[in-house]
């Protein structure tokens, strides 16, 4: 087989997808960058203003607070998802019927849309008609219904609870796969070596799941950094602008204030942050030739 010819055939197969990405990812990315240098408005018009939008972002306290809030959300929810997902995986990795079913149910909300699940939880948490307050009051855990979304902290936790419900099964399933792929004899060997359950978890299962953990963390962190639906629907950015995320603020500027240029600058900044984060983690995830 002549490598040149075969390579060309392969390239031909990949061409449609490459063109698609070029047209709908790379070109728009360039366009985004160009727009970020203009004062383009959704109402039309706009001119080249150089780095004005970036300067504006630098001085925009809501931009900073939204970025800070996004990081805070990411920082809070990632350990919850990773730790919780891992514990659930430890609990359910074996293929007994009950555990398989439990796993299946834990994963189920993942197939529900984030928007839909957010609406569902918006109702569950509602101050007046929500069942969660009703249960908490009936169990005498709280005296009066909590208005979850009046408080940035409570609202954040309400969102974290709802998102955890929705996506924790994702990590769980990946971790289950990682644990199951550990040779059963290795676990047994460690058992005979006298390692207790938690010693096994810490010294055998955890280190052998590192790749999965890093991969899942990456997915989760990127997902959290671009959070929008859950806040748009549940807290609606409030109280005040306390629960605005970066993407929400970008959307707000581009499509509510019609400032597409400024929104584009925010998008570029967010993209750079996420790209750096993702690249760092991909680099960390690289196998170091140890296995």
């Amino acid at each position: 087989m002549k490598p040149n010819r075969a390579g060309l055939v392969g390239l031909l197969y990949a061409m449609p997808a490459l063109l698609f990405v070029a047209a709908l990812v790379i070109y728009p990315l360039g366009q985004l960058f160009y727009t970020s240098l203009t004062s383009t408005s959704l109402l039309g018009g706009g001119k080249f203003i150089g780095l004005g939008n970036y300067e504006k972002a630098f001085n925009d306290s809501t931009f900073w607070s939204a970025l800070g809030f996004t990081l805070k959300y990411t920082l809070f929810i990632t350990p919850v998802l990773m730790g919780g997902g891992f514990l659930l995986a430890l609990l359910t990795w074996q293929n007994t019927r009950l555990k398989q079913f439990t796993r299946g149910v834990i994963f189920m909300p993942w197939v529900i849309g984030l928007a839909t699940s957010s609406l569902l939880w918006y109702w569950l948490f509602d101050h007046r008609v929500g069942p969660i307050n009703k249960i908490l009051v009936d169990l005498n855990l709280i005296e009066a219904p909590l208005a979850w979304f009046t408080d940035a902290e409570l609202g954040l936790w309400a969102v974290i609870i709802s998102v955890t419900w929705k996506v924790i099964g994702f990590g769980t399933i990946l971790f289950v796969a990682a644990i199951q792929s550990i040779d059963g004899e290795i676990t047994e060997a460690s058992m005979i070596d006298g390692a207790s359950y938690w010693q096994r978890v810490r010294r055998i299962i955890l280190p052998l799941s590192t790749r999965s953990i890093l991969l899942t963390t990456l997915i989760s962190v990127v997902g959290s950094m671009v959070a929008f639906d859950q806040f748009y629907i549940m807290t609606q950015g409030g109280p005040k602008t306390d629960t605005f995320t970066s993407v929400y603020w970008m959307y707000q500027n581009s499509f509510i204030y019609f400032k597409l240029g400024y929104g584009s600058a925010l998008a570029i900044i967010l993209t750079v942050i996420i790209f750096i984060g993702a690249a760092t983690q991909v680099a960390l995830t690289r196998p170091r030739g140890t296995e």
Partner: protein, 418 residues
């Protein structure tokens, strides 16, 4: 796979059948589409029903949630996919007129004798650089609504609603004291638009100047601003306001009042109708929104303007509809008969309203009301992050009134200079 495609096929069949049924009703004549925000959907429906029953060309109404309305209109215009007619919050007229999104209706309206009788607020907001781009459609004015039953229980006279801020605060405390989840006053604490409608007039009453048209205009000037914020702050700390008011982005604007456990709140005149319909058991009164002193009453003349987006495919019929809806017949039989304020001031006092004195109060409010003419209204007031709503929240829920006003002033100045 097979499962999926079967479903898909079934839905396609179902979907197209329904679509076919829906469109078959108006085969011969033209079919027009009127885009309207949800809070004006009622009036728009009455109007188009009346039109449809008397005209061959049919107009259907598409309802968009309030907070997506202008975005949808803007993105629609951008993508060249516009409705034939659009009715939206008159406050956005400046932005859209400046952007050239609307058809010039100067000739049409200046030759229409009815246009002269349209409430002044509409005429102001619909003109830009000497041209007219729209006219009144379904006005709404802000008023105070109060629960007479709770007034009685709290030992207040149900026929003397509060006339000053101090009285509001006092009455609210008395009603909240009834206990059992009863509260004195409500406002949607996370809704900028709601509060420019119901809170700003309390400030205007004492002559305050709130929103700037340009960067050099006065911003949040006047004692009324601080007085009103202080009153609300006091009511909040006193527990006269339900705690979930803080996070309400307007979704529960009057839900609490409808529950019968709320004493007073600012609201639009339009609610009279829906309360009467859906909650006949509620005994409620209507009063002008009070200000700092007795007599400082004011109102926000809001509601929806009607206009034709650039690129409308049925501009001629749309123009017919616009002039038609200003006629006595449409104003009276489309709106007033259904207890919706007519946009023509001369018809405010009509036979239908005679039977319901509460409408007279709202009709009178139109005369004392204002409406701000500003660009970037979303940015400044309406959005979830606007300086206006941020000021209210910081002042009322956090208590930093002076700081809140100062921050808002700076932000508004920035926005106005764009």
């Amino acid at each position: 796979m097979r499962f999926l495609s079967k479903r898909a096929v079934a839905r396609v069949v179902l979907g197209t059948t329904v679509a076919a049924l829906m469109s078959s009703s108006a085969m011969a004549a033209e079919q027009l589409n009127l885009l309207v925000r949800s809070s004006a959907a009622n009036g728009a429906t009455f109007m188009t029903d009346l039109w449809n029953s008397t005209h061959e060309d049919q107009i259907s109404v598409t309802v968009i949630p309030d907070n997506q309305m202008v975005t949808k209109l803007a993105t629609g215009v951008q993508s060249g996919d516009v409705p034939d007619l659009v009715a939206f919050d008159l406050i956005f007229m400046p932005d859209f007129m400046r952007a050239g999104f609307l058809e010039d209706l100067t000739n049409l309206l200046e030759n229409d004798p009815n246009q002269a009788k349209v409430a002044q607020a509409f005429k102001d907001l619909a003109s830009y650089e000497g041209k007219l781009y729209g006219t009144g459609f379904t006005p709404d004015v802000s008023v105070l609504i109060y629960n007479k039953e709770l007034f009685r229980q709290a030992g207040l006279d149900p026929e003397t609603p509060p006339k000053t801020l101090a009285e509001i605060e006092d009455y609210a405390a008395k009603i909240a004291a009834l206990g059992d989840d009863t509260y004195g006053y409500y406002f949607s604490g996370s809704c900028g638009g709601c509060n420019i409608f119901t809170v700003a007039p309390m400030m205007w009453g004492s002559g305050a100047k709130l929103l700037p048209k340009g960067p050099d205009d006065p911003i949040l000037e006047g004692t009324g601003v601080k007085e009103v914020l202080t009153t609300f702050r006091n009511m909040w700390t006193a527990g006269s306001i339900p705690p979930d008011a803080q996070s309400d982005p307007g979704n529960n604007f009057i839900a609490v009042f409808l529950g019968g456990k709320l004493g007073m709140q600012g609201a639009g005149g339009l609610v009279i109708n829906s309360i009467k319909q859906d909650h006949p058991e509620l005994d409620f009164g209507i009063a002008p929104l009070p200000g700092v002193k007795d007599g400082d009453q004011s109102s926000f003349v809001g509601g929806d303007v009607i206009a034709i987006p650039t690129g409308s495919k049925h501009a001629d019929i749309a123009k017919d509809f616009i002039t038609w809806q200003l006629t006595d017949d449409a104003q009276l039989n489309g709106l007033a008969k259904n207890f919706i304020l007519p946009s023509r001031s001369d018809l405010a006092d009509n036979e239908y309203f005679q039977a319901e004195p509460r409408y007279i109060t709202t009709a009178k409010a139109v005369g004392i009301g204002q409406v701000p003419w500003v660009f970037h209204f979303n940015d400044m007031v309406n959005s979830d992050a606007s300086p206006w709503i941020t000021m209210l929240q910081t002042a009322i829920f956090d208590g930093d009134i002076d700081g809140a006003i100062e921050t808002a002033r700076q932000k508004m100045k920035e926005i106005a200079s764009e």
